[in-house]
């Protein structure tokens, strides 16, 4: 590795989204030398796309809100499959993390008395989402980005160099984690990657690595996710010996645009529904009242009149069913379309135009308005939108310790969308942005303290680096390899048609066969052109990550014989209390295939159980658990 650029850091954070930046800030505040690595430019990570808001029980709008209520909503949303401890920490710490952002310069929308305003969102009992119009993710990432700049300025004042303790490596992709030792002694030694700009390789020597790489949505064709979401962090963790949990649970956002094509996949934020938007089928019927499941019957309005009153008087009325958790809404839309009551493009209508005055829509949903006007010439203040389910978020991810965010391999941490457990089988809107902050901070903190306790820094193994170089170069040197874009599109077809929102046994088995074929083909992928900024080559390298993560999802989806949250089996349409007790765990077998194992879910503490009524628990749990 003589001619490979090498750097030494205490903590290497892979990912510059909300989770990565928050982790980096924390590690730097603990006095560590930190590298932030990102596939795209600084400040462009996926987090910028989040619209609706960040959930935190600050109680600014409704003082009845507190962490217990938030915890309860999160568990209900995740259908009680959540790692309860993560949900508890998240609910308790989210308000502090949001307030902290204000000290970094964030400007949230305000209530009349000058506090942070909070808005309603599907699944949250009280108005809970701190927001900035409909560009909350942008505010979050810009704030963290600017906080990092301010820390770099402090370092410049102290050490004479902006990059003395935090350096951002933008447009740099990590393809491999480097390890030291084997078996129980195995630990993180660093990471290997390439600069997209030059195609040159780079090695980071570091005892601690935080994965904050986001999700996997690029394996689907209709998705809100960008090219970055190829499941790199999931795959890196697997290859390093960590485990993935809950991979069968993917969130399909109920309301992505389905028409016109220039906006296909773009999400229509849930706040359109929170602010009064309703769903109608092609016959003009407001159909959500027909789809309220028993477990939610008590909390939702039975008539449109009651639902409409709720917007102004939430204490004395129940909420409209348009605000059911998103998997319920997605499923309802899917059923309507299948029953032949959908639009031509395969969606349903989301109508806010006829429900609120144009000026109010403009005020509350400015960037939504602007986006659709510019992109599709659709005026949301004048006409309904055509929406349908879109792959949006992966609940599954790296199995982590709830308190420390440790991924099981010493020195490896994971936070944000790449980690699993927190959201159970379904994530509530707004719970991701707060998740990034809460567990990003924890990951940074514990990664820093891990390096404190080390007797000696791990050493990089040159043979691993050499192997990583060879693997990275192989698509470029392969003569007549297959086109990566074709492979990606084939993979998306398999996942979209066979492992989509509604799943069946036969199709899932079929998907595994087809994924096995794709595995062969992906090993022979080729890329033309040189090493400098070559997107074809970059995609060729991402493909194997997309594949292994897709295999995990398909395998786990076949195994779990029930329907719950983001996993719907047509052949097993009911939730099963026995399956609730099981987490499905994926790991890499010695031959590189995916191994699946059952693992019991941790038992909630009596104090937390006490927050629920016995009758509610009875809907989820077995008799044996209840007694």
């Amino acid at each position: 590795m003589v001619n490979i650029e090498a750097h030494a850091y205490d903590v290497v954070v892979i990912g510059a989204g909300g989770a990565g930046l928050r982790a980096a800030i924390e590690a730097r505040l603990a006095g560590k030398k930190v590298a932030i690595i990102s596939k795209s430019l600084f400040g462009k990570a996926h987090t910028v796309m989040a619209e609706g808001g960040a959930a935190a029980a600050m109680g600014n709008v409704n003082s009845n809100d507190n962490w217990q209520v938030h915890f309860r909503d999160t568990m209900r949303g995740g259908k009680f499959l959540n790692n309860y401890r993560m949900a508890e920490l998240h609910a308790k710490e989210a308000p502090d993390r949001i307030w902290e952002l204000e000290t970094y310069g964030a400007l949230f929308d305000r209530t009349k008395d000058g506090k942070i305003s909070q808005r309603n969102f599907g699944g949250h009992e009280y108005p809970r989402l701190a927001h900035v119009g409909d560009r909350t993710g942008l505010e979050l990432i810009r704030t963290l980005q600017q906080k990092i700049v301010s820390l770099q300025q402090e370092d410049k004042a102290k050490f004479g160099d902006y990059q003395a303790r935090i350096r951002v490596f933008a447009e740099c992709t990590i393809t491999e984690l480097l390890l030291e030792g084997t078996g129980a002694k195995k630990r993180i030694a660093g990471a290997f990657g390439y600069y997209r700009e030059s195609g040159e390789f780079v090695v980071f020597e570091a005892p601690a690595v935080v994965l904050a790489t986001g999700g996997v949505g690029r394996s689907y064709k209709v998705t809100s996710n960008s090219w970055e979401y190829t499941g790199d962090g999931h795959a890196l963790a697997l290859r390093a010996g960590a485990k993935l949990i809950n991979m069968e649970f993917l969130q399909f956002h109920p309301t992505g645009m389905v028409w016109p094509p220039s906006v296909r996949g773009i999400l229509v934020t849930e706040s359109v529904r929170g602010d009064g938007g309703i769903l109608k089928n092609s016959e003009g019927k407001r159909f959500m009242f027909d789809y309220v499941p028993d477990v939610f019957r008590k909390q939702y309005a039975e008539t449109p009149e009651e639902g409409d009153r709720w917007y102004t008087d939430p204490d004395n009325n129940r909420r409209p069913p348009e605000l059911l958790p998103r998997d319920e809404v997605a499923r309802a839309i899917n059923s309507e379309v299948k029953a032949g009551r959908g639009t031509k493009a395969g969606g349903v209508y989301l109508d806010i135009a006829s429900r609120r005055p144009a000026a109010e829509i403009l005020k509350r949903l400015p960037s939504m308005y602007h986006q659709f006007k510019e992109l599709a010439d659709v005026d949301i203040t004048a006409q309904p939108m055509e929406v349908g389910p879109t792959c949006h978020y992966v609940m599954g991810g790296v199995e982590v310790d709830p308190d420390t965010a440790s991924a099981g391999v010493p020195g490896l941490y994971a936070a944000g969308e790449v980690s699993g457990g927190m959201h159970g089988s379904n994530r509530l809107g707004g719970n991701s942005l707060s998740d990034l902050l809460v567990f990003g901070k924890r990951a940074g903190e514990y990664a820093a303290s891990y390096t404190d306790e080390l007797a000696a820094r791990p050493k990089i193994d040159d043979t691993q680096v050499a192997a990583a170089v060879e693997a990275a170069l192989s698509p470029l040197t392969r003569e007549g390899g297959e086109n990566p874009y074709t492979l990606q599109s084939d993979l998306q077809d398999v996942m979209g048609t066979l492992v989509g929102i509604i799943r069946r046994k036969g199709e899932l088995e079929d998907s595994l066969r087809q994924l096995a074929e794709l595995r062969e083909r992906i090993q022979k992928v080729g890329a033309t052109g040189g090493r400098r900024y070559n997107p074809g080559w970059h995609l060729a390298l991402d493909l194997r990550n997309m594949l292994v993560v897709s295999e995990c999802t398909a395998k786990a989806a076949l195994e779990r014989e029930e329907s719950r949250g983001g996993h719907t089996r047509e052949d097993f349409p009911k939730m099963s209390a026995t399956w609730r007790k099981v987490n499905l765990i994926c790991s890499l077998s010695t031959e590189g295939g995916v191994d699946l194992a059952h693992q019991p879910i941790p038992t909630m503490t009596p104090e937390l159980l006490g927050l629920f009524e016995q009758s509610e628990l009875a809907k989820y749990m077995t008799e044996e658990e209840l007694s």
Partner: protein, 334 residues
């Protein structure tokens, strides 16, 4: 579906050329869709940045038929059926490859700009601000850092030499944002903008406002108020006196007056529009220097109250639009 003519610039810092392509175009597509189709079918190694495909991340900045635009926000239906569409990289920044340019200039300028200064003695969770007060800064925080404004600003567009002293409109709105932030503890944002960011180089051509995909009123709401208030404050005898005898942190900040309303919008003179944007303009002459060859940064040494204008002292606002490469969209009555 139709097949359309495209010219896409391909090359790197050592040079390149416009290549001709014929690409399939479907109803409702945007330019970025076409670039993606080119990658998937003809040119797998065509370099182009993008992330969100929704106008939210500011990655896909490029020049389309010479206009700085987001590729994902430019609908194909805005072009004539038989029009050839020319796609080139941003001109102001060095090319890395194809449509990808080195935009590190912008990050460097951001690094040099003093960060938000949290108010002392206000605990997290105790921040109280009124919506009307945060809205002014919020407008600027909509910025998606596409750097189209930076790319279009003539001060640096063909003047590499100005990059050292000039931070550009993206950073001017950041300065204005912090200046208008209800709780920012620093009182010298305008002075910084003038003295360190080169606000004086800006002659309010409004080209930046015109290209901003977020429709931020960069000039009217940020640059002009920042300029006007620098002038206000420097003329205020009390403040000038205070500066002479007090350290800055001992100054009681005088309540900043509402920015004087800028004189009505610039109208385009009859027959002067549309403007030829590539018409060569003489660059800014550079600020006045003292005997030692330095700019008079300290107002105590300068012979006038405001910072030296690179355009001389006799400039009046609004600038005569006939002298500018600027055409206000919507025409004279806009």
């Amino acid at each position: 579906m139709t097949v359309r003519q495209f010219k896409v610039w391909r090359g790197d810092e050592s040079g390149g050329q416009l290549n001709d392509y014929q690409v399939e175009v479907n109803e409702g597509e945007v330019v970025l869709d076409i670039i993606h189709r080119l990658q998937a079918t003809q040119e797998p190694d065509l370099a182009c940045r993008w992330n969100c495909k929704a106008g939210k991340c500011g990655s896909c900045s490029m020049e389309i038929n010479g206009m700085p635009r987001l590729g994902c926000m430019t609908r194909m239906s805005t072009f004539e059926e038989d029009e050839t569409i020319t796609v080139t990289p941003l001109r102001t920044f060095p090319v890395i490859r194809d449509l990808v340019t080195d935009v590190s200039f912008n990050y460097q300028k951001a690094l040099e700009m003093p960060a938000f200064a949290p108010p002392k003695d206000v605990e997290p969770g105790e921040y109280r601000m009124q919506q009307v007060d945060v809205e002014r800064s919020q407008e600027f925080r909509k910025c998606i850092e596409c750097f189209l404004c930076q790319n279009t600003c003539h001060v640096v567009r063909d003047h590499e030499e100005n990059k050292l002293a000039f931070s550009g409109p993206r950073l001017f709105i950041r300065a204005a944002e912090l200046d208008m932030h209800p709780l920012d503890a620093r009182g010298d944002r305008k002075e910084i903008a003038q003295q360190q960011q080169g606000l004086g180089y800006c002659n309010i051509t409004k080209c930046c406002t015109e290209v901003c995909p977020e429709h931020i009123k960069i000039t009217d709401n940020a640059i002009i108020p920042m300029k006007e208030r620098v002038v206000d404050r420097r003329y205020d005898p009390l403040v000038v006196f205070g500066r002479k005898i007090l350290r800055r942190d001992q100054l009681t900040s005088t309540a900043v007056a509402e920015p004087a309303v800028h004189s009505g919008p610039v109208t385009v003179a009859e027959g002067a529009a549309p403007v030829n944007f590539s018409r060569p303009l003489s660059g800014p002459p550079g600020p006045e220097v003292n005997a030692a060859g330095h700019v008079n940064l300290n107002e105590m040494l300068s012979d006038r109250a405001a910072a030296a204008s690179p355009f001389g002292d006799d400039i009046t606002f609004p600038v005569d639009p006939k002298t500018l490469n600027y055409y206000h969209p919507g025409g004279a009555d806009h």
